[in-house]
């Protein structure tokens, strides 16, 4: 509805047009919402029963009418949209980003380094909750960086990344529950290798596929893994999952109360927070390793080959690049980091089931990569903090229930808001939040390149 409005800009009767447009929007909501807001079907004795909620319906129509009218008057149909200032500063920040990005990255790194102690010092009452959230965000950052290798660098659209996450998690869970001597640190590399192996297995059949054919086969692969995990009772426990997965130890020290525990060994007072801090640093180090490896690989021939493959497969072949090996290494290395993150997930939760590895998870990881700006490492960090952090914060917002009454449960609307945020951010910034790219090879001096210059996810 925005572009029909632009043609009207500067018109004398723009107010009338605004009202007409808002009325149309309200009418549309009335139609769309009739069967969902005004009516509700519920199971009742003797079949289904309809209940009506006219109040909700009219409220929704009124909100849309008012919102649309205000947007029309102040943004869409005026010569001086109030968002102009906003978009002006936004693009200025974007232009300054190569320098800013470096400093932002360093600042974020420094903050992440001291994060647990920051929360312990300043938010002692909610320290556990915040550190847990930081662990979750860090896991998604790591997954995002792993997927960034496949989608952002090699340009292979992978909709089934969660499969490798699952392989990593189940590898660790099965190894540690079947063999007592295998702890987290032994299982971690094994899980990574197994996930990489599955990456190659997936990579082979899809070598010839392009674009959306590739996307659907990877999606199908993710679903196959999940269905097998769900139905292979004897091996994976089916829908019951695997529980009793051991916690990680620090050189054999367990984070438990009493003799021989971490707190006892170092003469500290026992606290459950120690284990959270330890988990945080594990995922932090894993994520940093992912980042460093990716940045280094970009400078190696294989990384250059990935980016060349993303830009033009035919040119790659004619220059003698082995596209088979290039694609397979991208899948394998991306999958390996997914596997690492998976085994971390298993040890953090202590329990895994196929429910944690649905397509939604793949979609969230892909969304983080694309919303951050494909191929941009710092973008993944920002997108993870915004999307995952924002969504988890909704759980804890108490004031909303004061506004909407005690029956209001914000967690119910979590995914609804998540989806809306995905759509809005993408429409606002189609190239992702960070829209400049660091060139990986330069002649004499670095020049800024816009994301528009880079072929992204064309899926060759």
């Amino acid at each position: 509805m925005a572009d029909s409005a632009t043609t009207q800009r500067g018109n004398d009767n723009s107010l009338a047009a605004s009202i007409r447009d808002a009325a149309l929007a309200a009418f549309l909501v009335a139609i769309l919402g009739f069967f969902f807001l005004a009516l509700r079907t519920d199971i009742a004795p003797g079949g289904l029963a309809l209940t009506t909620r006219w109040g909700l319906w009219f409220t929704a129509i009124a909100i849309v009418f008012a919102g649309r009218l205000l947007l029309n008057i102040f943004v869409f149909k005026t010569d001086k949209p109030i968002t102009r200032v906003l978009s002006g500063t936004g693009s200025a920040a974007g232009n300054a980003l190569p320098g800013l990005g470096k400093w932002l990255g360093r600042a974020l790194f420094a903050f992440a380094l001291v994060l647990p102690f920051f929360f312990i010092t300043f938010f002692p009452s909610q320290q556990r909750q915040f550190i847990d959230l930081a662990i979750l965000i860090m896991t998604y950052i790591m997954l995002g960086w792993g997927l960034n290798i496949v989608v952002g660098l090699a340009g292979l659209l992978d909709l089934g990344y969660v499969a490798f996450y699952a392989v990593g998690a189940y590898s660790f869970a099965l190894l540690s529950t079947h063999f007592d001597f295998i702890g987290f640190w032994v299982a971690l590399p094994l899980a990574g290798i197994l996930a990489a192996f599955w990456g190659v297995i997936l990579g082979f059949p899809v070598l010839r596929l392009r674009g959306d054919y590739l996307a659907i086969v990877t999606l199908a692969f993710g679903e196959i893994i999940r269905v097998v995990l769900l139905n292979w009772y004897e091996f994976t426990g089916g829908p019951n999952g695997i529980s009793g997965i051991p916690k990680p130890t620090l050189f054999g020290l367990e984070f438990s109360r009493g003799e021989g525990g971490f707190a006892d060994f170092f003469g500290l007072e026992f606290s459950t927070i120690h284990r959270f801090i330890y988990l945080y640093y594990i995922i932090f180090i894993l994520a940093i390793i992912t980042n460093i490896v990716t940045m280094r690989l970009r400078r190696l021939p294989i990384g250059r080959a990935w980016e060349a493959l993303r830009e033009d497969e035919i040119a790659c072949r004619s220059l003698g690049i082995n596209t088979t090996n290039t694609k397979l290494t991208a899948f394998a290395i991306g999958a390996m980091f997914g596997g690492f993150a998976g085994s971390f997930f298993a040890t953090r939760q202590g329990f895994i089931s196929p429910e944690s590895f649905t397509f939604l998870e793949s979609a969230i990881i892909l969304a983080i990569v694309v919303l951050g700006g494909l191929g941009s490492q710092i973008g993944v960090v920002i997108a993870s903090i915004v999307m995952i952090g924002g969504i988890e914060l909704l759980r804890n917002i108490g004031f909303l229930s004061q506004i909407f009454g005690p029956g209001f449960d914000p967690t119910q609307y979590r995914m609804l808001i998540f989806g809306l945020a995905m759509v809005l951010i993408m429409v606002w910034k189609p190239r992702g939040l960070v829209s400049t790219r660091e060139p990986s090879a330069v002649l004499k001096e670095k020049k800024k390149i816009g994301a528009d210059m880079v072929a992204q996810g064309e899926g060759h």
């Binding site: 139609i31 289904l48 309809l50 059949p205 674009g211 996307a215 694309v370």
Partner: protein, 309 residues
Amino acid sequence: MEYFVQQLINGLTLGSIYGLIAIGYTMVYGIIGMINFAHGDIFMISSFIALSVFLILTTVLGFTFLPVVLLIVLIVGMLFTSAWGWTVERLAYRPLRGSFRLAPLITAIGMSIVLQNFVQVTQGARVKPLPPQIQGGVTLMQGNTENGAIVVQMSYMQMIIIVTTLVLMAAFTLLISRTSLGRAQRACEQDRKMAALLGVNVDRTISLTFVMGAALASVAGLMFLLLYGVIDFYIGFLAGVKAFTAAVLGGIGSLPGAMLGGLLIGMIEVFWSGYFSVEYKDVAAFSILAIVLIFLPSGLLGKPEVEKV
């Protein structure tokens, strides 16, 4: 033999539903080259609309003559679902026209999440059962096996589904090949810029494509509701993935391919459940997709992409 024929009929029925949804995917892909991930959820939305309209007609207004009720449900459902299809395109895809290819894919996934959770929040997470409305059928064959007598039956519901699908397919093929709208669509598919230069309203054509896809999905939604009698907010995901698989299997962008792919996926699922195991029917469908694509990288009826350098 009797068992085989029975499974064949069941497969045709399921395949018809998949085929109807798959057309929506394939048309959108053909015209703007994107995967409309929200299409499966449009199908889910349509089944909820169908349920509500049905309940209004039977319990509130007291209609009893079933054919008229179903006809009204079909028409009202198509209209309202089309509005949903149009709105999704307008909000999530049109602003990104001409942007890079992954952007509309992400908004499509976002829209799919929004629609699912919107229905969950407004209609509740529990399943909605509808007792079977059309009962009875025709006995086609009878035979004896070592496990006792077996009767091959084709229920009236299955007949309705297959016949409706055939009629819609015929009407649809005519629409694409004979009308000016169909011509405009094919023109946009071949070259959007040139079509615009020659006076085709591209935005309108694309919107109408979404409307048509949604209308066909709403037919599938009503059939699903009547055939299985149980719907919830999550049915769109699996049906959508299967239908998309069907579209890709048949060669994405090709209308007969979508129908063929839908029938094949339906058959594979039903035969696999009938002869091997129900649990792994999805694995079978997806594996066959992967195998077909290895040998025919652009699907069964798709045109191979030729890239000019």
